[in-house]
Symmetry: C2
């Protein structure tokens, strides 16, 4: 079987904030054969995530932890799709799968644990909408859950939680999960509409627009007069400095992302380390994938919350492969609300 | 009973590196009465520690975690002395005690848990030299032990440990303890004589003079081609940046002190936070005192090592109260080797 695959590629390495012009859509012919051991998937949703930018930098080629993206090449990404043809016993045509596929219309893969591929139940009976497997039940939900409950570990009722980039794909879930755990939750975001969403729809105790705060340290001091017990950090730079200056004793910081530092636009955080010592702060970088063996457990809890209406699922969906570059660039302009996805086909 | 107490005081708040001229020795008359509930101690050794500088800054007055030092006032400090007179049942004249006393010849105290006062056995039979209770069995030893074994937790044989300020009071013990635990240990120090001490006398696998390294990142890369598993950080600034850039995946950083940042002379560390995320690094600020309930347990282990000759005790002793200011200033000039103490009387 042959299909024409349209895929998004970078035109060159990207060092600053990405723009649409950094990308192009290419075509190739993909051939699947019954004796290949391969699976051909038609992608239905692709995930658009800020961290991908780091894979597009020239320096990524020398970084062991990063699977670098080369100009002109297809871009692997978490995505969901439908099996069109399968030459292995684990998958059959018609199966819906989620895992590492790509920013492309079709992906051909050989089963491998590294692809984190799972079959997805989208039946009207027990299933969730497919998009949810890209958001609340996908990496965003797992990152929020693992970072909050496994890295930061709320231990007492009423612990005070600060979430930066709180209307983003991960942040909005961290805040909602923390509220369900009895925490006091404050988020920050970059527009008043996002701030209203956090407070009015997602149940945050308070939220503020960081662009309207001349002094981030003072803003956090106002919201956390007794200090921040848990900081879920998605931003870095001055925001992280301000949060670290406002931690309470034995505070915990989950370092999930530092989007302000990805583009090189903002300066790096240079926190007062004495504060970290005096207050015995723990800062821990983590990946959701470190907790992979527990994803089923996490997913069962999160799925229960979604079914019971306790967690609102916020997805921001663009349409068609050609919208991938603008969807990605928009992340760094703060235009997304919740999980950014592109729906194909 | 009345005694004339000579004590060291600051003349003013100190913002940069301290000099002898920032201090003066003052006199006061101290009165002890049999019905006061108080204990009068003649101090024998006082501890000279870099962190004291932070208590001398103007900003310390507004910092909750710090017991600030005011110009002209006596300066509390860990010390050891002999009870001269006691108006409480727990202590008797002749007892030797260690705890929070002061940079002074006599200290009057009322027993309180905050003073961390303990009686010390200096008998020829079971005891250790009194100075050891200020160094390897005092806060330096407890900081090294707690930071290495409780914060960094070496888990595998042969884990790779980097110790900054490795010839200092805490660093030299961290390195020795880590070697006893089967780790590979590299330290850095600021003179070639210190480097030789680390390698030849204290059993470090390697050591380097950071003043002779134009590129600290490259120096660490040379010593740790496979990355640093455990970093015991005493320095901060560029040294910490270089260490963080060389950590291995799941590396752990115990933030014990940041002496390069105390004086405001060096710039603050602004590490690449992406490295922390990609490598899932944990950075944790800590105090030895957080582990106070376990000091007896730690002390038993350390004492055993000292008795068996497995740990070398490196003490740097000056004499007489008048030498306290120069002993303290010398810490920031890198002149001490091991634990800096001043012996009184």
């Amino acid at each position: 079987m042959e299909v024409v695959n349209r895929y998004v590629a970078t035109r060159h390495h990207i060092e600053g904030a990405p723009t649409e012009a950094d990308f192009e859509v290419r075509e190739e012919t993909v051939r699947w054969a019954p004796d290949s051991g391969e699976v051909l998937v038609r992608n239905l949703y692709v995930s658009i995530d800020p961290y991908q930018l780091n894979r597009m930098k020239r320096s990524s080629a020398s970084h062991l932890a990063v699977d670098c993206i080369l100009p002109g090449q297809r871009i692997t990404s978490y995505a969901a799709g439908e099996v069109v043809a399968s030459a292995c016993a684990e998958y059959a045509a018609g199966d819906v799968v989620a895992g590492v596929l790509g920013w492309e219309e079709y992906t051909l893969f050989k089963p491998s644990p590294a692809l984190l591929m799972s079959k997805v139940d989208t039946s009207a009976g027990g299933g969730f909408p497919l998009s949810h497997h890209m958001s609340v039940l996908g990496t965003s939900g797992m990152t929020a859950y693992a970072g909050l409950f496994e890295v930061c570990k709320p231990v007492k009722e009423g612990e005070k939680v600060f979430v930066s980039a709180a209307s983003g794909s991960v942040g909005n879930l961290v805040g909602q999960f923390a509220k369900l755990s009895g925490c006091y939750v404050v988020g920050c975001a970059g527009t008043n509409a996002k701030v209203d969403l956090l407070k009015d729809k997602l149940g945050f105790d308070a939220a503020f627009n960081y662009k309207e705060e001349p002094d981030l340290k003072a803003a956090l001091k106002r919201h956390f007069p007794d200090g921040i017990d848990i900081c879920f950090e998605n931003v870095g730079g001055e925001m992280l400095e301000a949060a670290l200056a406002n931690m309470s004793t034995y505070g915990r910081v989950a370092l999930s992302g530092v989007i302000s530092e990805y583009t090189g636009a903002g300066r790096r955080a240079a926190p007062d380390l004495l504060e970290l010592i005096y207050k015995r702060i723990t800062v821990r970088g983590f990946f959701a994938w470190d907790f992979l063996p527990r994803f089923a457990e996490f997913g069962a809890v999160i799925g229960g919350w979604v079914r019971e209406g306790k967690v609102q699922v916020v997805e921001d969906v663009s349409h068609g492969l050609d919208s991938v570059p603008s969807a990605f660039a928009a992340l760094f302009r703060g235009h997304n609300v919740g999980k950014k996805l592109v729906k194909l086909a």
